[in-house]
Each structure stands twice: as C-alpha cells, then as structure tokens.
C-alpha cells in the first residue's frame, strides 16, 4: 500500500492524488466456500482463497463468475473484499438480482470461479493521521481491513456506518473492534435517526482524511463535505462492471486525472478508489465537452 502524498494546497485545487495501482497482479482461481452467514439483509461468504488473500489490500475487490460454465449470466459480479485472514477471503453479498442471489445462496463446499484481488487500494495517510471511515449499507464491509491498516500505523480511526434500517447495516461489530463507531439509520431502528452525512458533518473537522464506500449519492455527499472542510477524501465506488479487469469499458466515470484533465476512467482498474474531489459526481451519465475525447464524439463546448 502506498502512502497518501496529497497535502492541502500542494497540488493545485485538488486535495487528493489519484490512487496508485496495486502492487500485485490478480489471479483467477476456482475456490471453495468455507462458510456462509446471514448478516441482516446480506450474506457473508468466506472462501478458501490463499493466493487472493495474500495479495489483497484494503479497497480491492474480487469478481465472481455466476452459475458455472454454461451459465446464461455471463457477467462477473464484482464485490469488495471485506476480510483476508488465514488464507481466507470474506465478502458481503447483497442479493438484489438473479446473479447476486445465486452467489448469496452458495453453500459450504460449493466452488466458484473468482478473479482477484482487483482494483486500486485505498492510499494510506502519513502515520498517525486521524481518519474518518464512512460506510453505507454493505459498503461498510470494504472498510474493515482499512480500519485495521490505519490502526496498525498509529491512526485514530472513527467510523460512521449508516443504512436505511437496522437490517441493512453491515460490519458494525468488526468496525467497533477497531474504531469509534457512530451508527445512523434513516428510520432510527438502530443508532441515531438520520443520514451518515449528519455524523460526517460533525466529525470531519477533526480528521486528516476521509474514506467512504457505499451508494453513489452517499459518496458524493461525503466527498463534498470533506472537500468543503479542506480534508482529502477517498471513495470506493460500486459501479456495475461486466468484467472487473479493465477490458469491457462499461464501468467508466468522469474523473479528473493527475494532469487536471477529465477522462472516462474505469472504476475497475483506475478505481474503485478515487479521490473524492476528483470524481465529477454531477456529470455521471453525461458527456461534457471537457472530457478527453469528447470532441471526437461530436460534443464540443
């Protein structure tokens, strides 16, 4: 994992540097399900995957093939890695479509084809930098490893875990072991009633870096709060990906690069971790004239 180099005011208007690539290349393996455990509305799956576990660092994800070699569902499902201990890889699956439902229904002893670890890790701040971690729904699972890494280098870690309701919270116990955790639910069924941004607004002034994983609207709001407070933020996005390895070009977002120019950047290989002030959230789903290569598409200023 690389050290976060950005400092306020040092690199033009941006508080962050683009996250550097991971050190290790991914592997493709058929792995066995060791354990499965319901976690509220989600399912936690643990696989025997030593080669992925030893390579993975916080922020990375794994891409699962769905339904075997003759499956009519061709596209891999990319899921954040929640834990890597003792040669095991843990993920939290939210069953919402046929593919994720198939994955969530795997039983111990079943095997699945997985590629990982994929994507760019969270850059770590200088030792001792206090950090705020913000997880929305099952996105909180992606922050557990990060909380451990931050603690290991002497950072104070605070976390906000939020969801619509108590059953959609995730990884609160794991985070509580590593950080002071504020729980927020929309309906007040756990923790405080309100949005994660309420808690972030209260705490962002006291930290040196913010990390977030969750739905796009939440990432945008958290990144905007951090940037307004002059605090660098890194967001791990959950764009739908067909391949997870960088070849299909479907998971792009408008992101400002190190050179200050906006490109359609792949969430899988240039992300999933982006500088929160570099993702142009307001322009997702559109093509603006200042995106590199827009002129060739007939879009001009």
């Amino acid at each position: 994992m690389t050290e976060l180099k950005g400092h306020v005011g040092q690199h033009g208007p941006y508080l962050t540097e683009p996250a550097p690539p991971a050190e290790h290349a991914p592997v493709q393996r058929v792995v066995e399900v060791l354990a499965t455990r319901p976690v509220g509305a989600y399912v936690e799956l643990t696989f025997a995957a030593p080669e992925i576990a030893e390579r993975a660092v916080p922020g990375q994800f794994a891409a699962f093939a769905i339904g075997g070699r003759e499956s009519a569902m061709l596209l891999r499902r990319s899921i954040a890695i929640a834990g890597t201990a003792d040669g095991r890889v843990t993920v939290v699956v939210a069953p919402h479509g046929p593919g994720s439902t198939w994955l969530a229904g795997l039983q111990p002893g079943a095997t699945v084809d997985v590629v990982g670890p994929l994507g760019r890790p969270f850059p770590l701040p200088g030792p001792g930098t206090p950090a705020l971690l913000v997880g929305g729904g099952y996105g909180a699972a992606a922050l557990v490893g990060l909380a451990g890494a931050l603690r290991a280098q002497g950072s104070d870690v605070a976390a906000v875990a939020g969801a619509a309701s108590a059953d959609r919270l995730c990884s609160v116990d794991d985070l509580t072991a590593l950080a002071g955790v504020t729980v927020m639910t929309d309906d007040g069924s756990a923790g405080r009633r309100g949005w994660v941004t309420d808690a972030v607004a209260e705490q962002v002034g006291g930290v040196g870096v913010v990390y977030a994983c969750g739905p796009m609207g939440m990432l945008r709001a958290v990144a905007e709060l951090a940037t307004a407070a002059g605090v660098p933020s890194y967001v791990a996005v959950e764009e739908s990906m067909a391949c997870g390895i960088g070849v299909c070009m479907t998971c792009v977002l408008p992101v400002v690069g190190a050179d200050g120019r906006t490109r359609f950047s792949r969430s899988c290989t240039e992300g999933p971790v982006f500088g929160g002030d570099r993702v142009r959230f307001a322009d997702v789903g559109t093509l603006t004239a200042d995106v590199v290569g827009a002129a060739a598409m007939g879009v001009v200023a």
Binding site: G99, S240, V247, T250, V252, G285, V291, A296
Partner: protein, 322 residues
C-alpha cells in the same frame, strides 16, 4: 459419422498431435484463437491470465484517428446468454496506440491485429497508412460494422458499395505485408453480397460477425437502459447467427479466409466455426466471464480436433460442407 469413421483423416489420440497453426490470409499464426475487438482492450489487462504471445493474435479495440471518450453511462445491460453494450469506441486514438499499446504488445512478442474505424473512407486509409511497418502489427481488421457509431443504421457494412470503398482504400494504403480483413455486420439482408463486394475490393479475409443491434428497456424506469439507447448484442446468444453467416459466406466464397466470432465460449463452440469454414476464431464476450478463455478455448479445440481424428486444424476448416 466422424472423420475417422469415414477414413478421411488419421487418428491421433492426444491434442499434442494436432497441428494448430493457421493463418490470417497470408499471415501465419501459431494458434487459431484470437481475442476479439472491443473485448480485450489492447491486451495488457489479460497478461495475468493468458500468454499473449501464444494465442493467434490480440485483436485490438478499434482505433480511430482521434482519442474518443466513448458514450455516457450506462453502457451495458446483461441479457440472456449475452450482453448489450454501447461503449462508443472509447480509445486513445492512433497516436496513443502507436506510442504505448503497440510497443507494449511488441515487447511481449504478441501479434497485434489492429482494428481500425472511422466515419469517412479517408480516415480508414490514413489509419492503415500510419500502421505500415509498425513492429508487431500482423494485420488489419477494418471495423465497418460497429453499431455504436454516430449514424446508427448507416454503417458501411450495410451497403456493399460503401463497404467496398472503405476496403479498397485501406488495401491501397496498408502495408502489403498486412492482411486486411473486413469485419461484417449480421444486420443485413444478404451477408454474402457484402462479403463478395469487399473481397472483390481487395479484402484478404473476412471477420464475422460484429454485434447485432439490440435494445433493452428498464421496466422500472420505463426507459431504455443504455445511455446510447440501442447497443450491440454479443455473447453465446448470437452464436447461431454468427455460425450461419460463416456457413453462408464460406459456401459462396470457399477460398476467402474467415476469422469467425460471435458467442464462442468453449472449444466445441470454436470447432463449430471451424467446421463451418473459419480458419481462425476470436473469443470476445466470453473473456468478460473468463479472462483465461482464449488459452482455454485453444486447448479445448485442440482436444476436440484430436478426439475427432484431425491431424491438422486446416483439415477441419469447412469440413461440415463436405
């Protein structure tokens, strides 16, 4: 009845015996399995999964003269045994390709089959000229059939005259050592007439097929899923269409080399294309499902040929017609 039963070919027990070498027209390759344009970017991302120098070639994502952002998202929808995409040919442009991607492939001993695209005949010709003599470039695939261009439904490959104009200009401008393959669209009434037109214009071979134009509507939003509204359908769902195209063209033009693609996922899928008349195949959308698919399909095809008693891949090309 198998070839062995007919006594046409000798029996070979293991795939190690099968000569898998083939060619793309006059360019020899050690394997009949290639990547497919638009499905493996420029090859670099497959390096952890595939020996890029061992497969037939890396068919690049289509390059144009200028860098292209591609279309806004959403760009993809999963469909039964396939997917719909509307990427819009995102890419670095020819300068980026020459500066970065092609030297990278050449350093690894990978052969690049460069897919070129444009909106005017002279764009294609200029691209072909810029690729003359470039190390590692095996040949050119002329993408006259991408459905995700500005003028949908007006792709060159839907008009025999326009298609021939592009191919003639490319053949004229291209390195004589580079075979020129025209990539055809299945979205035509008579693919044989297009195939005849482009080969008369100088195409050294044909790549079949590009995606089929399709549409998915989200029942919740009640609007098209893709930002580009329509998109190209790929994957095993289109395999019978692709196989029919290869069959028809090989039957009409048996001496024209065919690079077959469209839903190939296994060695037995690839075998069908070979039997229909393809002397090489591209593995496309299957790579999204299995990044090691090109190497796996090669091994499975070799096994399948051996089991059927073929000593050489070439002996199986067009076998279903005989």
């Amino acid at each position: 009845m198998t070839a062995v039963e007919q006594g046409l070919v000798g029996h070979h027990g293991t795939s190690g015996d099968v000569d898998m070498s083939t060619s793309l027209a006059f360019a020899p390759v050690p394997s009949p399995v290639l990547t497919a344009s638009g499905c493996s970017a420029f090859g670099q991302e497959l390096e952890p999964f595939v020996d890029l120098g061992a497969i037939g070639a890396v068919v690049t994502k289509s390059v144009q003269l200028q860098p292209r952002s591609g279309r806004p998202t959403p760009r993809m929808a999963e469909t039964p045994s396939g997917m719909l995409n509307s990427i819009g040919l995102q890419g670095p442009g020819i300068d980026g390709l020459l500066a970065d991607e092609l030297p990278w492939l050449a350093r690894r001993g990978a052969r690049a089959f460069v897919s070129i695209a444009g909106t005017r005949v002279e764009h294609f010709a200029e691209l072909a000229g810029r690729l003359r003599g470039v190390p590692g470039v095996l040949g050119l695939e002329v993408n006259i059939s991408c459905p995700n261009v500005e003028s949908r439904g007006e792709v060159f490959a839907c008009d025999p005259v326009a298609a021939a104009d592009v191919v003639a200009a490319v053949r004229e401008a291209a390195d004589p050592a580079h075979p020129v393959f025209a990539k055809l669209s299945p979205d035509v009434t008579d693919i044989v007439s297009i195939a005849r037109s482009v080969t008369d214009a100088g195409a050294d071979g044909l790549s079949m097929i590009n995606t089929l134009l399709g549409l998915v509507i989200d029942p919740d939003t009640m609007r098209p899923v893709l930002g580009g509204v329509t998109g190209g359908l790929s994957g095993p769902a289109i395999r019978p269409v692709a196989l029919r195209c290869v069959w028809q063209v090989h039957q009409a033009l048996p001496h024209v080399p065919v690079l077959g693609m469209g839903g190939i996922r296994s060695g037995l899928d690839a075998l069908q294309f070979v039997l229909a008349g393809a002397s090489a195949v591209s593995v496309g959308t299957a790579v999204f499902n299995d990044p090691s698919a090109p190497a796996r399909v090669h091994a499975e095809l070799a096994d399948a040929l051996a089991q059927r008693g073929f000593a050489r891949l070439g002996d199986a090309v067009g076998y279903a017609h005989r």
